[in-house]
């Protein structure tokens, strides 16, 4: 086995036993990137020299007796998270030359845990998209089939994990942007509860929905990474002061112990038009969970059908406000065009791509005089109903399982001319952001074309332990997570 193929927990064991070094692990992973990233195109920026310097320091720390949880582990960071001294573009021309003067809190916590930063991964511009095709720079390719998208917006991070171009990665999830690419690339993607991880240094898309998440090769690694980045941060007033448990302690091989596990299957998540192989794989996964001791029952989330318009109206209203800061004054692109207002318009007209401008337009419209009540306020009220659906379901069950995405990876170019079709690829993930709860996607099968299928496990706010427990038990009973793309 090559070192770059290891999971985080496997690599940590070898490092602790002195059987390899961080320098060796980092060098091999960098060589892997050189070998495959011309095809996959997961990375926007690579920082090999800094990575090797960090690896040498990690080896010295270990020799001196230190053993932090991620000591010497090479990781990738989605390019919407600020990294001190390293370009952070959000996949946008408007931030092409932006170099943050500070690390976001999640990045700083990874560094403090001893992680090695390999580089920054591709994303749809400002995390707006489901395929990475909205990146201003290039499209990332799915390692399982290079003609297909990796999903998005954290498609670069998901593809980098799937292609063994890092041992784990950070992504962000506003409406499914960690879970949907994890599903399409056959890796594990965890979106924590809103407020679980500080958003300080995450460049804002929709502030009431954005959350930093992790992409990993297995469930154990997701538990390890979450513990490293979670917890209260004085720099983010929406980060909750709730204790961070040892998530790995929650992982058990079956679901019989403790108080058992009640698993809900929402009838609204098996819809017409979804790929039959996805439905079959998810139903088979539910049977596996039942075999492991879970008590399975049907639940209802009756307002599911309204989640898509509610999500887009709220997300885009918030985005139009958040992206007002790109005015060509303090950072980013400026296109001089006479006076101040004309300079704003030229800067934003040229600096933003087609999808970002489309979303700013929609959000501006939803907030504009005469339409605020009919669109934005209406959506906020409907959000209350969607959240109440989940509150009621979690009275009956401990976790909810469903497909992550209605289809496996689609072809590059297939949906670029039809924004509404593209929006529908998040139809099973965006409700969780509206409700603020946690969700995880893990591999549960492959379709006839050999493309991965994702199982989504959702838990209530701060219910990450039970989500990880269910996911881990399923993972131990199956071998989907051991398969690797034919690169």
């Amino acid at each position: 086995m090559k070192l770059y193929e290891l999971t985080i927990h496997e690599a940590s064991e070898l490092l602790a036993a002195g059987e390899t070094s961080s320098v060796e692990l980092t060098e091999e992973t960098l060589e892997r990137i050189l070998a495959v990233d011309n095809d996959v195109k997961a990375y926007l920026t690579l920082t090999p020299e800094e990575a090797l310097a960090q690896a040498r320091a990690a080896d010295e720390h270990r020799a001196a007796g230190e053993d932090t949880p991620l000591l010497g582990i090479p990781m990738a960071i989605k390019d919407v998270l600020c990294t001190e001294g390293i370009p952070t573009t959000c996949g946008s021309r408007i931030l092409e030359n932006f170099i943050p003067p500070y690390d976001g809190t999640a990045v700083a916590r990874l560094r403090a845990s001893g992680a090695i930063l390999l580089g920054k991964t591709n994303t749809d511009e400002f995390a707006m998209g489901s395929s990475t095709e909205n990146s201003a720079f290039f499209t990332t390719h799915n390692p399982w089939d290079l003609d297909r998208v990796p999903g998005g917006s954290s498609g670069g991070s998901a593809a980098a994990v799937a292609a063994d171009e890092c041992l784990g990665a950070l992504g962000t999830d506003t409406g499914g942007s960690v879970r949907q690419p994890a599903s399409l690339c056959g890796v594990v993607g965890l979106k924590p509860t809103y407020g679980r991880v500080s958003r300080y240094g995450l460049i804002a898309f929709a502030s009431s929905l954005d959350q930093i998440g992790v992409l990993t090769k297995d469930v154990t690694d997701a538990a390890i990474l979450l513990r490293s980045i979670a917890g209260h941060d004085p720099h983010d007033s929406t980060s909750m002061d709730v204790p961070v448990p040892d998530y790995t302690a929650a992982l058990t091989d079956d679901l019989r112990g403790n108080e058992g596990m009640r698993v809900g299957v929402p009838k609204e998540y098996f819809i017409e038009g979804m790929q039959p192989e996805v439905e079959a794989a998810v139903r088979a996964a539910v049977d596996v969970l039942a075999g492991l001791g879970a008590e399975v029952q049907e639940v209802s989330l009756p307002h599911t059908d309204y989640a898509l318009p509610v999500y887009y109206l709220i997300a885009l209203a918030e985005a139009s406000s958040n992206l007002a800061r790109y005015d060509g004054v303090r950072y980013g692109l400026r296109v001089d065009n006479g006076g101040l207002i004309e300079t704003y318009k030229a800067t934003r007209g040229q600096g933003f791509g087609t999808e970002v401008k489309r979303r700013i337009m929609l959000g501006t419209y939803a907030l504009s005089a005469g339409y605020y009540d009919a669109y934005y306020l209406k959506a906020q009220k409907a959000r209350t109903l969607i959240k109440a659906d989940f509150d009621a379901a979690f009275e009956q069950v401990d976790v909810i399982v469903a497909p992550t995405s209605p289809t496996t990876a689609f072809r590059i170019g297939e949906k670029v001319d039809d924004p509404l079709q593209m929006y529908l690829s998040d139809v099973f993930t965006l409700s969780m952001n509206l409700a603020g709860i946690c969700g995880l996607s893990l591999p549960c099968g492959f379709d006839a074309d050999g493309l991965p299928i994702g199982l989504q496990v959702m838990g209530p706010a701060f219910g990450e332990e039970r989500v990880l427990r269910v996911a881990y038990a399923y993972e131990q009973a199956t071998d989907w997570h051991t398969r690797r793309p034919p690169l």
Binding site: I99, P101, V310, L313, R330, L340, K345, K357, M361
Partner: protein
């Protein structure tokens, strides 16, 4: 919900976006189709439902008002497109 060309131009003006003629045509069609899809929301009776702006049980979060060292002026200005005398330089605001 069909948007007129004038409405598209008005929204672009509010959002401070310079759009080409082609972009205006593209967005006029696409935004109209998306808004039409969103119309289903009006079926919901939300008369008695309070809005949710945040899912958190938090409201105004206070912290101690203690001075901390700020970022250096140099670091902050390093990303600015134009600076002069240690300040951001902008086009004339007053005509």
């Amino acid at each position: 919900m069909k948007l007129s060309r004038e409405e598209v131009q008005h929204i672009a003006e509010l959002a401070r976006l310079a759009l080409s003629d082609e972009e205006q045509s593209l967005y006029q069609g696409q935004l109209s189709a998306i808004l039409e899809h969103f119309e289903r929301l009006q079926e919901l009776d939300t008369e008695a439902i309070p809005p949710t702006a945040t899912v958190l049980p938090l409201r105004s979060v206070m912290r101690a008002d203690e001075p901390r060292p700020p970022f250096s002026r140099e670091d902050i200005l390093a990303n600015a497109p134009a600076t002069e005398a240690g300040c951001f330089k902008v086009p004339a605001v007053l005509e």
